[in-house]
Subunit: 338 residues, 2 copies
């Protein structure tokens, strides 16, 4: 079982991607295919020669000549840059030479490449990118986080079903509670989309707990939170911005009050707890669900640790054959709403 | 210039509303009409007799027999409960007996009462409830915060124009920067609604700075943030939930690490700064813009201080005649997009 890594994707590529691959390979002994500019990859690898015996790791390199950047138009770039590191990763999975691929690059392009090469699973209207967000009692999965900005009620139903399978199989949850993002708890509160989606979710074979309001996303009331990709993306980024704001305000205030400033050394254990809790690199990457193969999308700012964890997430996803389960749930033989 | 207060609205009514009215009257000497159950109002007032000479305050009571609760259907309740404290408040403004009204009650019902009695201003497609959210350099106004869950691009344009007038006239801003909530900075990023709204906003007579992502709402990149009421409401409540989560995590971690716990006394100045920054009661209430009269909606959880500040917000809004300015900007004699 090989995992292909888009070495050229992400703000810190190829340094962080190569280092992450080495760490993942050391930790799991998995076979990895590093896809990207061979010279750059070898350069990065050479930095580790003194510390690690790379010959013992299962690392293979496939040289590519093109790179899809953050500024590229996703679909056009995938169509035109056939020898990009991202396209070749997706192709390797489509051809069965890799069991899954990981990219920290342009997430729109990753989605486009997965759709173009891996194809949608039978019965899936639209694949979804889910994300994990810290909550009071652990973390909550939000679907969709930006892949689908304009949705129909049926899309939200499918996002819930696919994420439910992921949470059960990969995260080992027993009976994840599914909440629908809305502006009030009552089934009559919401916009056109959420009102209609409520009816579909209530009838589906899910542990549906009804509408949840913005307040309850971080409180951990639900394990899975469903919304369209516009709302999901705004929430996710707003959460990053707000955490940032609070930390900056604390810092400013500390500087203003010498007595508080002086106590910072005593706060390290607490600050460390918080940092771990909100550190996206712990999760590594988020899955694209609904395509025929494993695809993990990492944060553009991923460091080596995040890359390592994204690769491990891909390995886990291949173990549990999420695609087959989704196909059974949504495919011709098992309509979502029956 | 009298302000009518819905004494029966809000989780802490009538205690917090009556106390808030007394505080506001003492501070501003404004004439207030307390609308609600007379016995309950007199009961609450009697608690202050030993401390404050209430005969010196300009407080008038209008007795009402009905109350609109949080569980009432907004429009139906306003139609059926003609002698509710909320309906009577709105009627007083419509009849010119009060210059504006304040309610901490069911915000949907407040909006319905304002529409029913005060009427929409000429040219206004839909009134908007704006809210103020703390940002790094002060606060940001978000429109709409839940009054309009399904919007057309023209609605978002009008929300921006109305909020712009409020920010200039009432908050004294020079040239507020208007941002449109989206999932990327480029004009080509967004959902159907935001893409079309972008084009309208770019042509309008506003200091439009383009799309802003969730991350930039708390960073203070824009002074006015425009989105539909579904997104606005989810953001607002998610922000409350996230701040709450972070504080709870800090508290838990403090308890785990004795050395951090011991330093809490030194942190008071900083915790106090933070508390003030995120304390909604400082803003008191938010305006409903686009109706013919002043209407301030307070948080359901308002304490006396928040009620006092909401009344002061109403007094300020009546001073600057926001309705007239909106009417001129959007009415027959001044189309929004010309």
């Amino acid at each position: 079982m090989k995992i292909a890594l888009d070495v050229m994707g992400g703000d810190n590529a190829p340094q962080a991607t190569v280092e992450g691959a080495i760490l993942a390979s050391k930790e799991t002994n998995a076979e990895l295919i590093l896809v990207g500019d061979e010279n750059q990859i070898l350069d990065e690898m050479s930095k580790f020669k003194s510390r690690i015996d790379l010959t013992k790791l299962n690392l293979e390199i496939i040289h590519t000549t093109e790179v899809i950047t953050m500024h590229d138009h996703p679909a056009k770039a995938v169509r035109n840059k056939k020898d990009s590191s991202l396209s070749v990763c997706a192709k390797l999975v489509a051809q069965g030479e890799a069991a899954g691929f990981v990219s920290m690059g342009n997430s729109g392009a990753v989605m486009a490449a997965a759709l173009f090469y891996l194809k949608r699973l039978d019965g899936v209207l639209r694949p979804t990118i889910i994300t994990r967000f810290p909550s009071l009692n652990g973390s909550v999965c939000i679907a969709d986080m930006g892949a689908n900005v304009d949705c129909k009620p049926e899309n939200l139903l499918q996002f819930a079903i696919m994420t439910n399978i992921f949470c059960r199989k990969v995260l080992g949850m027993k009976d994840p509670r599914v909440g629908l993002v809305s502006i009030g708890e009552e089934p009559t509160k919401g916009n056109e989309l959420s009102l209609a989606a409520y009816q579909l979710l209530a009838k589906a074979d899910l542990n549906f707990i009804g509408n949840i309001e913005g307040y309850d996303i971080p409180s951990g009331k639900a394990d899975i939170v469903v919304c369209d990709g516009f709302v999901g993306n705004v929430i996710l980024k707003f959460g990053e911005g707000l955490s940032d704001m609070i930390l900056k305000l604390i810092y400013r205030s500390f500087k203003k009050h010498p007595i508080s400033w002086a106590s910072i050394p005593f706060l390290w254990p607490t600050l460390n707890d918080l940092r771990k809790k909100v550190d996206y690199s712990e999760f590594g990457g988020v899955p694209l669900l609904g395509v025929d193969g494993v695809c993990i999308i990492g944060h553009g700012k991923s460091n080596a640790k995040a890359v390592k964890n994204a690769i491990i997430a891909a390995i886990n996803a291949t173990k549990y054959d999420v695609a087959k389960a989704i196909s059974e749930a949504l495919g011709k033989n098992g309509k979502a709403d029956e």
